[in-house]
């Protein structure tokens, strides 16, 4: 007997569901199960047809085994349900697990969901920072993002205006997203006059941790047409951590002045393009991590949407607006949706599935065929997913 080699299968998304991001007077189980039910209904299947499930959560606000507990509200069918914590990239890692489960042939139908319930304000630093860092005031995530922005400003002459323009764009599109926490457009003046959180970053330019859930149903591509006429294929699903001194994401004690490694979004993006057999020029629309407005700008460069140092010109040119070369964050981004960490990447995926199925109205990208979702966070946990219709 011989092992017959690599019998990998393609993977399709046949159902997508979301629970609004915001703050709610209900349990994480209710929030998660609503998103899963919506995805099941979209796929035209029942919970007892799901063979394995992966859950993404990334805060200490939820109990241990939150993922399995939330899903079992729909029935204790006995399938394997396991949880993933990979900071802001948790949803991408749960998706990666689901994709691999189907590719391996161990199942045909898999549910992947993320859920979170985080209180208002800055996040609790105790799970991620050392005691001395907290005591000294070095434990707020936005301060690291701000220092990254200040350095970029120094090196490339970036100003405050491109940051405000990203926030302006994302808030502008949020009014079309009924699942966003804030569905309100702001003027550039309102954004630039909003209170400074971490100089030069202002309140209307950063995301707020919150509550919400998102879910997708994965299916072996060869069987997808039993369930849907509009399958969306997972062309690449990649997870990376930051290499030594490669990333400015909190919590950082120090960076090297001698060693220069590529940022994890560059590394994960490169791998994802390779797996999908495409380049950044082939992307029709993208959802990238806009934890703050500057992060969205750097992702333009890191994902190859523009050259290094040219992110300011890219937002100025309108290339990332609806109708531009690569529309980015037409969902409103997490600047307007808020960031339920475990659910945020899957929220991107749900929105991109809708784009590729041509089922959005005001923010539909005409004839979208290829879409990219990206998240990055603590420790440089980074996920890049490429979808094709």
């Amino acid at each position: 007997m011989h092992w017959k080699g690599n019998n990998m299968r393609d993977v399709a998304i046949i159902g997508a569901g979301i629970h609004k991001f915001g703050r709610f007077d209900k349990s994480y189980s209710e929030i998660a199960s609503e998103a899963i039910k919506m995805a099941l209904k979209d796929a035209g299947i029942e919970w007892n047809q799901v063979e394995v499930a992966y859950a993404a959560t990334a805060s200490r606000e939820l109990p241990l085994n939150a993922g399995p507990k939330a899903a079992q509200v729909l029935g204790k069918t006995g399938i394997g349900i396991s949880g993933v914590d990979s900071a802001c990239a948790s949803g991408g890692v749960a998706l990666n697990n689901g994709v691999n489960a189907i590719k391996s042939g161990s199942c045909d139908i898999c549910a992947v969901f993320g859920v979170e319930k985080i209180p208002r304000g800055l996040m609790d630093p105790t799970p991620r920072y050392e005691r001395w860092q907290i005591e000294m005031g070095l434990s707020t995530n936005p301060s690291y993002w701000a220092m990254s922005a200040v350095r970029h400003m120094h090196e490339y002459g970036t100003t405050e205006m491109p940051l405000a323009k990203v926030a302006y764009k994302n808030h502008k599109y949020s009014v079309h997203n009924p699942y966003a926490m804030y569905q309100k457009a702001f003027t550039l003046e309102e954004i630039l006059n909003s209170p400074v959180v971490c100089w030069p970053m202002r309140l209307l330019e950063i995301c707020s941790p919150n509550e919400g859930a998102a879910a997708v149903i994965l299916c072996a591509a060869e069987k997808a047409d039993q369930y849907t006429t509009k399958p969306v294929f997972v062309a690449a699903s990649v997870h990376k951590l930051a290499k030594y001194s490669a990333d400015f994401r909190a919590p950082v004690v120090q960076m090297s002045a001698r060693v220069k490694n590529d940022n994890p979004t560059i590394v994960a993006g490169r791998k994802a393009y390779e797996l999908a057999g495409i380049g950044p020029e082939d992307i029709d629309c993208a959802e990238v991590q806009d934890t703050d407005a500057f992060m969205e700008l750097t992702h333009y460069e890191e994902l190859g949407f523009c050259a290094e140092g040219e992110c300011g010109q890219m937002i100025d040119s309108g290339a990332t607006e609806l109708g531009g070369k690569i529309p980015v964050n037409l969902s409103g981004g997490i600047i307007s949706k808020g960031e339920p960490i475990g659910a945020s990447h899957l929220g991107q995926i749900v929105f991109l599935v809708w784009q590729l199925r041509d089922q959005l109205d005001a923010v539909q990208v005409k004839d979208a065929k290829v879409a990219l979702g990206q998240v990055t966070g603590a420790m440089g946990h980074t996920a890049v997913t490429i979808l094709k219709r």
């Binding site: 800055l122 005591e135 707020t140 971490c198 030069p200 030594y244």
Partner: protein, 140 residues
């Protein structure tokens, strides 16, 4: 009652007297990377061939921010009212950039590459009456 560091092995010598105390560091004998405090292994090359190395007390500002909202958790700086906190990365001649509080909290007065110097000072008094020492950087 004694003078104690905010975390063990942060400083080169005991804090009595404070004069002449430096930030303690570790140097990888294989790749020369230098780290703040004591490390078990080199994050750059994976070597466990590590020497102790005192860090320079002067450097230059690589980047900075000013935090305008009080941090969550057990922040020991002024809270009522909160005083905006300058934070920066200071690049030392050893080739590492240390995350540190700054003595300046006005962005107009902070410039990338400005020369900085280390300040080791008492930060708070703990429940046993010990003076807890931490570090910050200010303009040279």
């Amino acid at each position: 009652m004694a003078n104690i560091p905010i975390i063990d092995e942060l400083f080169t010598t005991p804090l009595e007297p404070v004069d002449g105390v430096k930030l303690a560091g570790s140097r990888c004998k294989d790749c020369d990377e230098v780290f703040l405090g004591k490390v078990i292994g080199c994050e750059n090359c994976g070597s466990q061939n590590i020497d102790a190395a005192a860090l320079s007390s002067e450097g230059k500002l690589y980047t900075y921010t000013v935090l305008h909202v009080p941090p969550r958790g057990d922040y020991k700086g002024p809270r009522e009212p909160f005083v905006p906190l300058g934070i920066g990365l200071v690049e030392l001649p050893e080739g590492c950039r240390i995350m540190t509080p700054l003595t300046i909290n006005d962005p107009e007065l902070l410039k990338v590459n400005m020369p900085m110097r280390l300040i080791i000072d008492t930060f708070y008094t703990d429940a046993e009456g010990n003076e807890v020492f931490s570090f910050k950087f200010g303009p040279k």
